[in-house]
Structure formats: C-alpha cells, structure tokens
C-alpha cells in the first residue's frame, strides 16, 4: 500500500516533486510575509513607545490607531 502510493506506477517522482514544490513555495511565501508583518508591527510599537503622553492619548483617540494597537497587543510582541 505505502509502496504503491510512493511509486505510483513509475510516476511517483513526478507527482511527489510537483506536490513538494507547491508546498515548499507555500512555506517560503508564508514565512516571508509573516516576517514582514511582524517587523512592521515591531516598528510601529517602537515608535509608539517613544511618543509623549499627549500624543499617545491622541493616537488612541482615533479608531484606526485603536485597532492597530489592539492588534499588536493581542499578538503579544
């Protein structure tokens, strides 16, 4: 059974390489996009910490900033 799935009557190497290429591409793309996402969140957080108290309150008052901030807080970085 296992051997049958691996060999696929001689087409195994083609089928498995096509599926592996697809899945490896997925992992690479996901890793790159995730890395950029986390980096951008960190940069936002670092900048936000440097703001004065008044500026922080001003930013928190705007809905979009509230969403960004809660998103960063929820992903714990």
């Amino acid at each position: 059974m296992m051997q049958e799935i691996l060999l696929m009557e001689g087409y195994g190497s083609y089928v498995w390489s096509a599926f592996s290429f697809t899945l490896i591409s997925f992992v690479i793309l996901y890793a790159i996009v995730k890395f950029q996402y986390v980096k951008e969140k960190k940069r936002f957080n670092a900048k936000f910490q440097k703001l004065t108290y008044n500026e922080k309150e001003l930013a928190k008052g705007q809905p979009t900033y509230r969403e960004v901030l809660s998103n960063i807080a929820s992903s714990k970085i």
Partner: protein
Amino acid sequence: MFSFIDSSKIFSITSKAPKYVFFIFIIVLFIGLIEALVLSPKDYIQSHSVRIMYVHVPSAWISVGIFSIIGILSFGSIIFKNKNFSIISKSLAPSGLVFNIIALVTGSIWGKPTWGTWWAWDSRITSMAILCLFYLIYVLAWRIIEDKNRANQVTSLIAILGLINIPIIKFSVEWWSTLHQPSSIKLLEDSTIHSSMLIPLILMTAAFALFSLLIFLMKYNTEMIKIKNKGLDRL
C-alpha cells in the same frame, strides 16, 4: 465614491481574520491532499501522473483570477483615485505571482511524463509565462518606485495592460493549435473530468484560494500598519 467604507472597521476584521483563515486552510488542504494523492483514482490513459493536475490547475486558475482582480481594481484606482483599491491590489500580487510560478513549474513536471517534453512554446504556455513577467514587473514596480502616487499610477497601468493577456490565456487553446489540451471545465457545458477526480480538484482549489486569502490578509495588514506608522510622525 467608496468613502463610506470605514478603514478602521475593515482593519478590525482583517487583523483578526488570519488565524481563522489559517486554521480552515490547513484542514481543507489536509483533506484535499489525501483526496488528491491517495483516494482519487488514476486516469485511464495518464495513470497516476494525472494527480499533478490537482496542484497545477488550481494554481493556474488562481494566478489568472488574482491578476484579473488586480487589473479591474487598477481601473478603479486610476479613475477614482481610490487608495484602498491600490493597497488591495498591491497585497494580492505576491500570492498571484507564487501561484503563477507553481503553475508553470508543475506544468513542466507534468509535461515530461505525458507529452514527452518539459517545455513547449505553444500559445497557452507562452501566454502564462508572459503573465508571470507581468506579475514580476508589477511587484518590482511597487518596490522600485519611491514616490507613492507615481508607483500607484505605474503599477495600475501595468496591471491594466496585463489584463489584455487574460483572454489570450483563456482562449489560446481554442484559437490556435496547441500542445496543451483544451479546458475540461467550461461554464456552459458538462465537465469532461469524472466526478471522482473533480472532488480533489475542487478541494485543492478551495485550499489554494484560502491560502491566497491568508497571504493577502497578512500583506494588507502589513501595508495598513505601515501607513499608520507614517501617520504617527504627523501627530
């Protein structure tokens, strides 16, 4: 136009969505892979090599679909100067490009045992390779051009010009003699794929669509935070 869409409301959805999409994607992909590699039958003439179809065809569909969306959004982006359209287009491009590359590579792997060649310059394959070039130029233009408005205009024009290639890809197998076989699934006719092979094809298409949605959401959130990041300077 479209100003009624509150960007903070959109972001509150898109920032929470990725983890759910990821979860559903993994489940659908798992079932799809089992169906595609184990449960589905072999073909009467292509034997097990037909299984490559389950990664090749969904990738090709999705890369063509994503480019069509980018092209149409680019119209809106240029005509109505809608910023959200250009951010959505920009965020859609990476998964479209990757699916295009997957379609070309898996097609090549499929071609060797069935046609007897890795590559043929027939009109379907060539037009898909041209789409890949459009994707590359599109993504590079966003990276290279510093001025935001300029980048938006240039990329939109690239996408709109690339849109002309889409019907050529679709109908290439009907207009000219090609090595590539015609479409098996048509809008108005019965599909020429047996139902036992249609199941993994649909499951894999759903999984791939979920994956591009996931990548899109993460990319879109990155872009939104980038914009807000710049906004912090102006407080």
